[in-house]
Symmetry: C2
Subunit: 318 residues, 2 copies
């Protein structure tokens, strides 16, 4: 359930490009016009607009946007306009280049909430853009237990069919997870193996067996030490695999509630989910915070950035 | 340069199926007819024959072949008839199921001599056939240093473009490899990282820098302990990445020269390379052994198995 709204009658790509070019011309930039066009076109339409713009004006639309816009608004428009696989490749590269353990979420959520074929497209887009493969960068830039978790997570091509989770296996692996977590052996080979190689449906069965067998959720058991970033990465792996909607609601909640909004996370979740499941995430946000995500965004952001996010959130007045 | 020969005028798939069905009927099986057809059809043609056979006779051609044939001949025909990605998936599964460190070659050669897109097709074929993913089986069945090498090797999606190997990087990583190999730190993280994540062209530049800088080939430096199977796996990784033709010649040479032919390896190399580069491997074999691969095969095998291999080797009289 996406939040993206596309008008029933969409102008031709050439008309959109002409309007965008107009928005860049003369005194000042017409930010509203940019939002009106780009925030209401789907990925295929945006790709055609970029291609047409390049043919008509001889340079990349993203370069023009970069010259005209600035700050969080610029980033939200640029990140949104990119093709989804290319966008994820950019997010992955940026996260690895500026690697800090507290930024594990970007890599975990891309690895765990995209389909296996989407992950392959992201790896292809990464090669096209950066002339190297994700795993060679990851293996150089990320060390220790984080590498041990993230490398197999990002390179996985997991079994996705929903038929027939193996219940005996789920039970035995729930037991292994419980034993290792109880022993605080968080980066144990078996924990990593289970979380990074089993398919999503199999893992959900394992998490259910964990709850049934041990009377507590695995996610809860991974909350025992809030300062342990690796534990947080494991928890993100489990939560984003178990229920992406709940995971993304939590990322948004933390981005908005902390002192000084985390615009990076806010932009990332809104732009990457607007065409996927942002409607469900909004419902989850409302349930959890008793305030709508739009209202929360209005309180925490302003100007063109606010308008861009609200447009992607499908807010009625934008 | 393939050795497979396909007649200039190929019968229709229905005619081929009719002939195959005839070969199975009456007293005894007409093995020659089976070879005449299947060993002279390319992968696409064999796929269409299987599909047509199933439509015409209501069961899988492979099942019929399995009932009629036996021993090494059976295996060579079945393995050959499979679609290449599916065939590799079968070889991978079989190797992991009956895992012995001395069988590392099958996994290493599939990971290092297939293109990254072929590797993805193999991973898809594995899921379709076995309802799970390669990495979850590999991570369960293979332990220790072999897992450390083979898991990233099989799951890699390496950068393949030939333009611009990074020479400074090649030099520095040749130095790392030399240091670690000198220290006998064969399963060191850095050795594994370099060999499993760098693209083939980059690695070849690294191997050249190794030779230039240290006066000996990396492959030679990995021959110091013939009894160390992990060292042999590293050597196979380097050799099959550096030069698949040389690697496959060596596998064939060892398969033929040892006491009692290694039919498993012989069948595997002939069937998996007949449509790819077996002509080059044959030339390499002739150079290295002063006898043609066909003559060597004739000396070491017999009957229908011999005829099947010779047909795939493009032998004139078959």
């Amino acid at each position: 359930m996406a939040t993206l709204t596309v008008p029933s009658c969409v102008p031709s790509p050439a008309e959109d490009c002409e309007q965008l070019n107009k928005a860049f011309s003369g005194w000042g930039t017409n930010e509203k016009l940019i939002i009106d066009i780009l925030a209401h076109r789907n990925a295929t339409q945006r790709n055609v607009i970029r291609k047409t713009y390049s043919e008509l004006y001889g340079h990349d639309l993203l370069v023009s946007l970069g010259k005209e816009l600035s700050s969080d608004f610029e980033r939200s428009v640029l990140i949104w306009t990119l093709d989804p696989s290319d966008r994820d490749a950019v997010l992955v590269e940026e996260t690895m280049r500026k690697w800090k353990p507290c930024n594990h979420g970007v890599l975990v959520e891309i690895a765990c909430t995209r389909s296996c074929d989407e992950l392959i497209s992201i790896r292809k887009a990464y090669q096209t853009r950066f002339k190297k493969c994700i795993e060679e960068d990851l293996a150089v830039k990320i060390k220790g237990e984080f590498k041990k978790l993230l490398l197999p997570l990002v390179t996985a091509y997991r079994y996705e069919a929903s038929e027939g989770a193996n219940m005996a296996l789920a039970k035995s692996e729930a037991k292994i997870l419980h034993q290792k977590i109880s022993d605080k052996a968080y980066d144990d080979d078996e924990v990593i193996r289970i979380l990074t190689t089993r398919g999503k449906y199999q893992l959900r069965a394992t998490f259910n067996h964990y709850t049934d067998g041990f009377g507590t959720e695995l996610v809860k058991d991974l909350e025992c030490d809030p300062k342990n970033e690796f534990l947080a990465a494991l928890r993100a792996t489990v939560l984003s695999t178990k229920c992406p909607t709940t995971y993304f609601e939590e990322v948004l909640r933390h981005a908005i509630k902390r002192t000084g909004t985390d615009e990076g996370a806010l932009t990332r979740v809104v732009t990457t989910r607007a065409e996927v499941d942002l409607e469900l995430i909004k419902q989850e946000y409302m349930k959890r915070n008793s305030v709508s995500l739009e209202i929360a965004v209005m309180k925490d952001t302003r100007g063109d950035y606010e308008n861009m996010l609200l447009a992607l959130l499908g807010h009625k007045d934008t």
